[in-house]
Subunit: 247 residues, 2 copies
C-alpha cells in the first residue's frame, strides 16, 4: 500500500478522517506511524495529498488531510477485453488499476464461455476492492470505469462511439503484419483503446467487425499468452511507447 | 495447454509415448482427440512436433511422435530478480516461462525479507510444473534455468560473468533518466539481462554495485507496480522492442 485511498464521504468538513479498518492496521503496523507522522493519501477519483496522524486510539487512526490542488492525470488507455475465465479475471483487476486504465469494457465473444458472466468476480463487491488495491499500489486515485457487455456487436456498433471517440483503436491480433510498437509510432494518439480477445482469439467475424469500426490490427510476439499476461504486456507497451514518444 | 510437453524419458525408442495424467485428460476432454487425430507436442528443452493418437484405453492415450529438426530459439532475456514474497513469486513462474526467459536468478537484497527464501515456492517440486504450464501456454519447450542466490554481492561480483557475458545489462530503476525503450534502441543487443529490484527498490549500495558491473539504469513509467506486474511489463517491453528493431 503505497498510497492510502480514502472514499470522498469519509472525510469530515474539517478535513479529518478516522480509519479503523485494514488501512489503520497498515498505518500502525507497516508504516509504524505515530502522532505527528505523515502518510501519503489520496481520495478516490480525487486529489492526492498528505495525512498527518493526529491520534491513535485502540487500533483506530485519526488523520488530518491536506490535498494537492490538481488531480492525477487520466489514464490514456481504455481496454475492451473478451471476458477471461473467472480465476484469470480475478488476478487482473488490481493489475489493470495499477497499470492505469480508464475504462474496462468486458465483452462476450464466440470463444468466451457464457457462464463466465455469472461469476462473483464481475460484481462490484468483488472487483472494487481489488481495483482500489491496485490504485494504492501505483499511487493513483483514478478508479477504472467498469462495464459489462454481453453482445460484442451491440457494444461496437451502438455504444463504443459514445465512450471512445477520436483516439487510436487497436486490436491485438497474432496474425497481424504490423508489430504493436510500429503501429504506435506511426499513429501518435492522446487516447488509445486496446481490444484484447479471448485465449482462442477473436473469430473472423469479430475481427472484421472491429476493423470495420476503426480498429487497426497489431501483433505482439509469436507466443500465446494467458489473458492476464497479455493484458499487462500490451498495456505496458502502449504506456511506455506513448511516454517515450512524448518526450 | 497449447502444446503438450513431454519429458525426454517418456518417449520410447519407437517414438511412442503413453500419457495417463492430466495431459491425457486434456487430450480427451478439451481437444476431444480420437485415434488418428494430431496434437501439438514438444519435448522439454527439445524440438516441437506432432503426436498422432494411436489408441485410447481407459483414460490413457498413446501417441506416435514426429518432431521438427530444429529447436525453438533460446529466449533473449535473462532475469535477475530480487525475490518477491512467496504469493507473488508463485504467480510469476508460469508467466515468466510463457514470456520466455533463459535464466531466472533470484537474489537477496536489503528490502527482501530473509524468510522469503524458506518458502516451498522455491523448491523445484513447486516451480517446475508451473514453468512447464507456462511453456505449454506459449508453445515453447525451453525450460528457464533457475538459480537462487542469497548474496547479491557474490552473485554480481563472482558469478554473473560466467553465466551472462557480452550482452546488454539493464537495471530497472524508477529514478533513472533514460526510459527503457530509449535505452534499448540505443544499444541493440542479442542478449539482455534485466535486473528487477524488490518492491521498495534497490538501495543505493545495490544500485552502485550493479552499475559498477555494467548494468545501465532505465526507467519504466512513474507508477509503482507489484513485482509480478513489473516483470511481465519489462520483459514484454524488451521482447517487443527487440523484435521491432530486428525487422
Amino acid at each position: 500500500m503505497n498510497l492510502l485511498i480514502l472514499e470522498p464521504g469519509e472525510i469530515s468538513q474539517s478535513g479529518e478522517v478516522v480509519l479503523a479498518d485494514g488501512r489503520a492496521a497498515h498505518v500502525l503496523t507497516v508504516l509504524k506511524a505515530a502522532p505527528g507522522h505523515e502518510v501519503r493519501i489520496g481520495v478516490l477519483d480525487g486529489p492526492r495529498g498528505v495525512g498527518t496522524v493526529q491520534a491513535v486510539d485502540n487500533g483506530a487512526v485519526r488523520l488530518l488531510c491536506a490535498f494537492a490542488p490538481d488531480l492525477p492525470p487520466m489514464p490514456r488507455v481504455d481496454l475492451l477485453l473478451a471476458l477471461p475465465r473467472p480465476k484469470v479475471m480475478r488476478r487482473l483487476w488490481a493489475q489493470l488499476a495499477a497499470l492505469g486504465v480508464g475504462r474496462i469494457m468486458l465483452t462476450n465473444a464466440e470463444r468466451v464461455e457464457r457462464h463466465y458472466f455469472d461469476t462473483h468476480v464481475l460484481s462490484p463487491d468483488c472487483y472494487r476492492p481489488l481495483l482500489v488495491e491496485g490504485l494504492q499500489q501505483a499511487k493513483d486515485t483514478r478508479l477504472p470505469h467498469v462495464s459489462i457487455h454481453k453482445e460484442l456487436k451491440v457494444l461496437v456498433e451502438d455504444e463504443l462511439d459514445h465512450v471512445f471517440d477520436g483516439g487510436l483503436r487497436i486490436v491485438a491480433d497474432p496474425g497481424a503484419s504490423t508489430p504493436l510498437p510500429a503501429l504506435l509510432s506511426r499513429h501518435p494518439a492522446d487516447r488509445i483503446l486496446l481490444a484484447v480477445g479471448p485465449e482462442g482469439g477473436w473469430n473472423a467475424f469479430e475481427l472484421t467487425l472491429l476493423q470495420a469500426h476503426g480498429f487497426q490490427a497489431a501483433a505482439m510476439g509469436r507466443r500465446t499468452l494467458r489473458t492476464d499476461t497479455a493484458c499487462v504486456a500490451l498495456i505496458a507497451l502502449v504506456n511506455e511507447m506513448e511516454r517515450d514518444g512524448s518526450e
